[in-house]
Amino acid sequence: MSGDFQASSFYSVFWDYYVAILSLVSIVGCAVFLWLQSRRRILVKSEVGAGPVKGDPATTGHVWDGDLQEFNNPLPRWWIWLFYITVVFSLVYLVLYPGLGTKWDGVLRWSSSGQYQTEVKAAQERFGPIFEAFAQQPFDKLAADPKARAIGQRIFLNNCAQCHGSDAQGSRGFPNLADGDWQWGGSQEAILTTLLNGRNGVMPPMGAAVGGKDGVEDVANFVLSLSGSAHNSAKAAKGKEKFETVCAACHGPEGKGNPALGAPNLTDKTWLYGGSVTTIAETINAGRNNVMPSFKQILTGPEIHLVGAYVWSLSHPAGTAPAAAASK
């Protein structure tokens, strides 16, 4: 703990002594003041015999604002012990806990980060076995288990929904996870690999390779024709050849894509960035670089397994097909 402080450029050993001396002097000072006051007797001018107990003076003789008097109501003797107890308490506290600067860690060696670690460990011991049991089951079994889905959904909402949306249907640049269309494959293994290692989908800029502005437009029209979308057939015919020589390397001669490379299927109407000629031309011209981060450091293995099963279940209502056969 002390090491963290010393690494800071704002740290000076002066503050350790400042804190320690100020604390200890104040506590001891309180005790001394208390002791002196408890044996103090004050001479006052007062009416005798009118006090709360017969024979005691009625007031302490202090008068403010002409008529505001302080009545003589002494505290009971035992009360002073409460003050001494607080003095002893603070000294014991400072021995047990790190309250005197960074040089003293306290007998209990307590720290807030240490307490956090303890709590995390306790939670892992409590919930670990539950997660482990789920992690042994394949996706199709978990998809049919409402408890596993509920856990998976919560993990998804806390970690994945920021990009893919609460309904997992994505948005521009972030794939829809619920439509059964997988860029990197939809098998249990593929989904787990995506979650564990992340993915980096790169479409290189191809403007020059397909022949400049006109070439790009031709290819874009051909790409649109693959999914039967509205396109200019003359331009598409010109683009066909270029597609087969340049683009087919990743997207395949028929444009069906390649999950091993993350090359999307161009024959369906699912567009990650948009399906207009302009957007497709932009993609061809400037390329795309898309990153799915790795969750290895963020989630535990069983958590990744559960959230993967939840994502898988979105495109497999009521476990319609076994996970192994779902690969595309």
């Binding site: 001479l43 009416e47 003789g61 929904a161 920021q162 249907q169």
Partner: protein
């Protein structure tokens, strides 16, 4: 405070000493008080009132945790689960406003009762008074009343003394522990707690609080007593700020009583130049705070009216009218108005203001509770994305609903949205939330391309229980249109 007490010397015959130079100390030894509990054979009228409140409050306190409701403890403040069960009502942390309402009602009631009748709360209903009364009753069983207790304390240690004192403390501790157990039983199921204690499996914190509250009861009602009211209680201090000259307080009628003096025959008193006070000292003997009410209003007085009961008993015996010590206002004692005037002056502006605000808050709280819907909905638009365009050109927004079903049964709800032409819910419109659970429900809203103006549009999401259309929440949110 000081202004009130400054009147004291005026009410007392001039002290003999005059002004002198004397020594005062900041801390003084506490003088043991032995309040006399029994005068005559029956309880005085105000003592009866106090015992009525002892029974009323303690039957509720000790009995309530044992009631069951729908198979669970009827009243349980489950701090770990953050749910308060009060009979059929289940309060969630979101319902904290009702606690605020209850606190306002409690504060205003204190203002109102104090303005009308002084420290009524202190004298009759405060736990400190109630437990002290019970503990003193136990004390009397083992040690006898005032005179016997004083004699016993003066005796040198003997087997009889040790036995009586030990028995008294044992009885006190037993009651105190039961009180601690009951108190913790409001926060953790009391039957399970009982089994855990009997089988020595009780958890550390539950045991700590049982012992802590038990210790507090034993210490406060057995040992501390009037010192709690005199030195610790903040209410005692600020209640005197709510007194005025028309507040009913426990007072001694100086004009009628003085000059005091013992005299056997009623007829002789006037001739002998004596007032009605026979100076029997019973009002001082019964006082739980050890003051002499004949010295006028004092900050120690908790308004328990034990001195009224004592004095009335004596007056009756002496054949004089009761009420030498009585509930009266300072103005009435000063002769500004008579008995009827006291009642008339209770109805003064501050009383109307307190009562008026109190009534408004009570009605507002009751209405809010009656109209409370056991369903809470939060609609959160997905922050990660603006609007998206579906294949058919319609505009899509995604939301997350946090739905809390606060009832103790699972419930099915329907989901709809309104506010834009053609707005529809594309995700599931029916869902079930388990009993007393918070669920996250993703929601996807779509509207036809032409019907959504660009930018933010106000819409309303409606969640309604399938079995009861009255259980429905309308929640405002925004639907973003696309800018092209």
């Amino acid at each position: 405070m000081e202004a009130k007490e400054a009147q004291r010397p005026a009410a007392v015959p001039a002290p003999a000493g005059g002004v002198q130079e004397v020594e005062v100390v900041l801390y003084a030894k506490r003088k043991e008080i032995y309040p006399r509990q029994k005068i005559g054979d029956s309880l005085g009228i105000f003592q009866k009132w106090r015992w009525a409140f002892v029974w009323l409050t303690q039957i509720v306190f000790y009995g309530l945790p044992w009631l069951t409701w729908n198979g669970r403890q009827a009243v349980l403040f489950d701090l770990a689960e953050r749910k308060f069960y009060i009979l059929g009502l289940v309060l969630w942390p979101q319902d904290i406003i009702y606690l605020t309402g209850i606190l306002i009602i409690a504060a205003l009631s204190l203002f109102l009762f104090t303005a009308v009748g002084g420290r009524l709360w202190c004298g009759y209903a405060c736990p400190q008074t109630v437990y002290t009364e019970v503990f003193m009753w136990i004390e009397r069983l083992f040690e006898g009343d005032r005179a016997k207790r004083m004699a016993l304390d003066k005796q040198p240690p003997s087997a009889r003394k040790v036995l009586r004192k030990t028995a008294k403390h044992a009885a006190w501790i037993a009651l105190a522990l039961w009180t601690g157990y009951t108190f913790v039983g409001f926060f953790t199921p009391i039957r399970e707690l009982g089994v855990e204690i009997l089988t020595l499996q009780v958890g550390g914190w539950a045991l700590f609080w049982v012992l802590f509250y038990g210790f507090a009861t034993y210490g406060n009602a057995g040992w501390m007593r009037e010192q709690v009211c005199k030195y610790m209680c903040p209410y005692a201090r600020f209640q005197s700020a709510m007194f005025d000259q028309d507040t009913l307080i426990v007072t001694y009628d100086t004009e009628r009583g003085e000059p005091r003096g013992a005299g056997s025959k009623t007829k002789d008193r006037k001739g002998a130049g004596l007032g009605d006070c026979v100076d029997c000292g019973l009002c001082v003997q019964v006082c739980p705070t050890g003051i002499d009410i004949r010295n006028g209003l004092q900050y120690e007085c908790i308004g328990c009216a034990a001195c009224i009961d004592a004095c009335d008993f004596v007056m009756e015996r002496a054949g004089m009218p009761k009420g030498l010590v009585r509930y009266a206002t300072e103005h009435s004692l000063a002769g500004r108005y008579g008995r009827k005037g006291i009642v008339e002056h209770i109805l003064r502006p501050r009383v109307f203001v307190y009562a008026g605000i109190l009534l408004v808050v009570i009605v507002a709280l009751a209405t809010a509770l009656a109209l409370r819907v056991p369903l809470k909905v939060d609609v959160i638009r997905d922050r990660g994305s603006l609007a998206t365009e579906a294949e058919d050109g319609s505009v899509v927004n995604t939301y997350r609903l946090t739905v809390i079903n606060t009832t103790e049964q699972p419930r099915e709800f329907t989901l709809s949205a309104e506010g834009l032409p053609g707005l529809r819910v594309e995700s599931a419109t029916r869902f079930t939330v388990p009993a007393a659970t918070t669920d996250a429900v993703p929601m996807r809203l779509a509207a036809p391309a032409g019907s959504v103006p660009p930018g933010s549009n106000k819409i309303v999401v409606v969640v309604t229980a399938v079995d009861d259309p009255g259980v429905s929440v309308h929640e405002k949110t925004a639907f973003l249109g696309l800018r092209h």
